[in-house]
Every structure is written in structure tokens, then in C-alpha cells.
Amino acid sequence: MAGDVVIRAEGLGKKYLIGHQTEARATTLREALGRSARGLARSAGAMMKGRPLVAGDAVEEFWALKDVSFEVKRGEVVGVIGRNGAGKSTLLKILSRITEPTEGRVAIKGRVASLLEVGTGFHPELTGRENIFLNGAILGMTRAEIRRKFDEIVDFAGIEKFLDTPVKRYSSGMYVRLAFAVAAHLEPEILIVDEVLAVGDAEFQKKCLGKMQDVAGHGRTVLFVSHNMAAIDGLCDRAIILTLGKIRYIGSKTKAIELLRSDVDEKSIKLSSSRIRRAEVQSVVGETPIMGGDFRIWVELTDVDEPHLGFQFRRRWDQMPVFGFNTEMIGYKAPSNEPRAVIFEVSRTPLLAGEYSVDISLRSNGDLVEKIDSAILFEIIESDVYGTGRIPFAHSGSIFPTISVVSE
């Protein structure tokens, strides 16, 4: 590799296949059997060829990452930023070799350690001592190396007294400290870190940041993914912004952070449709809709004869449908042949924080005339909906219902 470049990615792309159930439900047993037989044959074929298996009868491609090229030089600390679903995790997974790219290539020079999580492989039944060896080996350290750094790791974590206690009896703080201590003592030439700093108390986070700075200061290369702008600002030399699986910007961190902040305003996508001019989601209060808040869907129509609009809300990341409605369902009849903007309001949205996309379909006189997938992308931000300071996990589903205790 020329010069001091230690990571060179060229045209990286990762395609996922998403299955849809498009055919109508089977009405006869024969039909059902025939269909499952076909499905089985396809799965078996795909399995033998090592292709991923997809449920559903129609398969759609989804590029989580596309045309990503960049270079990282020795000793650089590069931040990777972007919203949820922008492709950051996919990029990290490719660089850590957990998943293979669909196209493109990466050349990495030197020993790589990737930290996508603290305490990967920790076993609750094993003691702290045993877990240090286990976790170290999983992260790529040799046994000799772990033995050499053992005392240092224990010291950093501050768990001397509990070394021979199963980690299931550790407090969560101790657990995280031990896990990070092992990771911090890796000595790779290249360190790939996911948002592991989002755990632990503030003081420990500072200690971790300090340790990472140490790592960076020793001429090691760090690729650091974070939402934490302060951490990016404090640690990185350069930053890469990913948007919808593509590189939007590579360059100075200051410019990147600035760009990302202004990104939040970009809520609507300019549509190339002739009948739907514009579509966007707006928050009723504030800039971005929050969990439990109200938002409006703003659609600008040109003249359409007997228009009927339909909306399908999906989780942006996996395109999982979360809800949908159409104008007939809610009893609204838009006037014919009259250009206008229609505004719908969704009140007290029960959607969890995250990114969502909206497919819009337009019917005229009952015929489908327009269907725009992901016409709108919007984000819902976290809010303390249960008033306990504990926000429902975004990965636990897509909605949060109202829950109360009725009997004790």
C-alpha cells in the first residue's frame, strides 16, 4: 500500500435482501402446499449455493452500503458519524470481517481489533479472572499476552477483590469496567470502536476516553463510530459522514459535525413525481417529532381526479411496516382536480425513537397512479414517555403502548 495508508476501502457495498409477502393468501390446501413446496425448493437451492435465505415470495434488494471508498493513514483517528441506519454498523461489520461485502474491497495493513461491544462473550458463570482470558482470546489476544497484561487489566478495572467471583454477581458498573479494561489493553495497530463509550458512569467514560487518546497517541489508528459529537470532537482528526449507505462527506471533523447538525432539518425528499409535488413530516412542537408527540404529514397534490392517498409507515432500517392508513379509512375525500396541500395530523404517536420511512400511494378513480417508496424519511427522538427516566429500548419493537399497574 502506498505511503502510510493502513486502511483502503474501494467501492464497498453491502446488499441485503428483504422479503415481502405479495401474493394473496392461499385459499386452498393445494395452493398452500404448492406454495410452500416452491418456497422450500428455493430455500434449499439458496442454502446449497450459500446465498442468504429470505422469507416471503418477492425479494427486494436493499443496499445498506453503496460505493463507499476512503483511506485512513497510520496514526489517524477517524470518526464515522451518521444517523441510525446510515450504514455505520454495516461498515464496521465489514471492516471487522463479521460480514462480507457484496462488492468492493478493503485492504487493511496491520493487526486489527474491533470493539463492537464491551464484554463480548463474557460468561456470567465464569469468574472475573476466567472472563479476562476468555474475552481477551475472543478479542484476538494470545494467552501469553493476556498473562503479561493481567495485573494491569485488573488494576485498570479496579476489581482485585472480586477476581474469583462469578461475574453474574458483579454490579453492572463493575462488569462494564472489567470488560472495557480488557479491551483497552489490546495492542492492535488498528482499533475499530463502536459506541462502547455509551455505557458506564461519567467518570469511567472519561477514563475510557483518556485511554483511547493514549492509544491514538501511540501512533495507532483508530476508527471510531459515535453519536457522541463531543467525543468525536475531542478524539478525532477527521470524520466520515454516512447518509443512506453512502459517503456524504469526508474531511475535517468541525465541518462534519456542522453538516450533520444541519442535516436534521432535511426532512423531505424532493420528489420526481408529477402528481405529488412535495411530501414531508413536520413536528407540531419543536423541530423533530418526539415519542408520544404529534406530527403532521404534509402532502402537496397537483390536479388529480378523485384522489385517494395511502400511507405506509415503515421502520427505516429493516423496512418493517409499523402502521398505515388511507384517506378512505379515515373518512376524508379530497376534492377532484384541484391542486392543494393536504395536512394530516398523527396525535400522540406511539412510535419508538428511530428513523421511519413513509411509502405514499395515490389512486385516481380507484386506479393506482403513483406509488413512491420511502417518499418521506423522518426521525422520532427519544422522550421519557413513562416519566421514569427509563426510555423504552428502540430495539425492543416499534411501539410503546400505555401501560399501568391495575393490581398488586
Partner: protein
């Protein structure tokens, strides 16, 4: 990237990631990760025997009770003959040793990728390590059953002869015979999670079609070759032949067929596993 572009190029390991490349250096990679294999195997064994009493007790009680039931049902009630005049309980135990090795590997390996899902989705290593390390627990369990067998042989006065030297070979054969089917089941289990329910059934069914509770000598001569299509038959016969001495005999044509099938299944298993392994992280 020419290799000689830099003087210190040899000191730095160059990793190239591209579609299909991981498959090319597969076996070298597997060797490179041998220490991880050892530590995962050690973890599985440690966790299994952490509650020492339960772990060891289970490894002792399960074969002991099965042996008693089989001896009563097949030996006493059905009145089947033993193998080469060896006491019936000893013969059953000698057959159970490879059978439990086989079934434990099948059971734990087929579940191993799913239960290590957290590792698979966060760290890279050749995935083959995970089901293979599950074999370690099965081997330790078998060692305990072996102690039981030695005790039984002592109390019945059955002594092995020179053929005992072949035992390690048959242990290896038993492991190889288990790994092939286990890898196929592992791959299926990741795609179809409900496949996990089928594995115990296969194991239960297999115990009755394999000569665990009886001697394969009771199978009529003209059916012996057909019976050997079950690869476990050859393994069990081999264990009895090498362990029990005396007049125990192996049906050699059947044994050869069994070995061929073991190799064929092993090849198919590794192939299926490797074909699906690249997508594990995406599926879990």
C-alpha cells in the same frame, strides 16, 4: 499492492476483505484461531461442570440408567444374545460410550451457533470453531462414561486384549461420524429455528435403530450391509471389538461402508456449513 512496496511490509499483516475472499484462506485462518478454539472448548467444559455435583452426576446417571433399562428390556425380556459371550451390561455400556459421544455432539453442536449468536454477530473468527468446540464437552462426558465402563468391566472380570490399542482410532472415528451430520444440522438450525425441536427426535430415533441396546450380530447376515448404512453401527461395533476382547467380531464389509459414509457425511457437512457460514452474522 505489490508486496515489496515497503521494506517493513513483512512485519505488517495485510488483510484483504472482498467478496468470497474469506473462503480462500479458510484453513489457514482456522489454524490461526486455534487458541480461541481451545479457550471456547475450555469455557464450555468449565461452565458444564461448574456446578460439579450436577454435571458429573448427570454424566454418570444417564448412561447407568439407560444401561440398566436396555439390559432388562433387550437382554432379559427379549432374550437377545450378547456379543461374543461378554456379559450383557458390559456390552451395552461399551455401545453406549460411542452413542452418547455421537448424540451429545449432535445435540450441542447443532445448537452452538444459535447459543453463541452474540459472539457471531460481534467478532470475526472461522465459525467452524464453535460447533467443534462443542465436541470437547462431549469428549469429557464420554471420559466419565468410560470410567463407568472400566468399573463395570472390572466387576464382571472382562479384560481387553491387544485390540485396545485401536481405541483412540475408534474415538476419532466416532467424532468424525458425529461432526458431519452435526454441521448439517447446525446450518439448518440457523435458517429454521424450529429445527431445534427435530434434533432430539433424531437422537431418540437413532438410539433405537443403532445397536446400542443389542449386538449388531443379531441382525441377519444378509441385512448386515444394509444396516451399516447407519454410520454409527460401524463405530459401535468398533468400540466393542477393541474394548471387550474375546470373541467380539466386526462385520468388515459393513465397517468399510460405514467409514466411507462417515467421510461422505463429513465432506457434505463441512461443505454445507461453509456455504452458509458467511451469512450467519446476517441471519442471527
Amino acid at each position: 499492492m505489490p508486496a515489496g512496496a515497503e521494506p517493513d511490509a513483512a512485519a505488517d499483516r495485510l488483510t484483504v476483505i472482498a467478496p468470497g475472499l474469506a473462503a480462500r484462506n479458510y484453513w489457514r485462518d482456522l489454524w490461526h484461531y486455534r487458541e480461541l478454539f481451545a479457550i471456547l472448548a475450555w469455557r464450555d467444559v468449565t461452565v458444564r461442570y461448574k456446578q460439579t455435583v450436577v454435571g458429573v452426576l448427570w454424566a454418570l446417571v444417564r448412561p447407568l440408567l439407560t444401561m440398566i433399562v436396555f439390559t432388562v428390556v433387550f437382554g432379559r425380556l427379549a432374550g437377545l444374545p450378547s456379543d461374543g459371550g461378554v456379559p450383557y451390561p458390559v456390552m451395552v455400556m461399551a455401545g453406549m460410550l460411542p452413542w452418547f459421544l455421537f448424540s451429545t455432539i449432535l445435540g450441542s453442536a447443532s445448537n452452538s451457533i444459535v447459543s453463541n449468536g452474540n459472539l457471531i454477530s460481534k467478532v470475526y473468527f472461522p465459525r467452524l470453531i464453535v460447533p467443534l468446540s462443542a465436541c470437547a464437552v462431549a469428549l469429557v462426558d464420554s471420559a466419565i462414561t468410560f470410567v463407568l465402563l472400566v468399573g463395570l468391566m472390572l466387576s464382571y472380570g472382562v479384560a481387553p486384549d491387544w485390540r485396545i490399542v485401536f481405541l483412540p482410532g475408534f474415538v476419532l472415528l466416532a467424532v468424525l461420524a458425529s461432526v458431519g451430520p452435526a454441521l448439517i444440522l447446525t446450518a439448518l438450525n440457523i435458517r429454521y429455528r424450529d429445527f431445534g425441536f427435530i434434533v432430539p427426535f433424531i437422537i431418540q430415533f437413532g438410539m433405537y435403530v443403532s445397536p446400542v441396546g443389542f449386538s449388531s450380530a443379531v441382525v441377519p447376515e444378509e441385512w448386515r450391509l444394509l444396516y451399516s448404512i447407519n454410520p454409527v453401527v460401524g463405530v459401535i461395533d468398533g468400540f466393542r471389538w477393541s474394548l471387550l476382547g474375546g470373541d467380539t467380531a466386526i462385520h468388515w464389509p459393513g465397517f468399510a461402508l460405514g467409514c466411507l459414509l462417515v467421510l461422505a457425511l463429513l465432506w457434505a457437512g463441512i461443505r454445507t456449513f461453509r456455504a452458509t457460514e458467511r451469512t450467519f452474522a446476517d441471519l442471527i
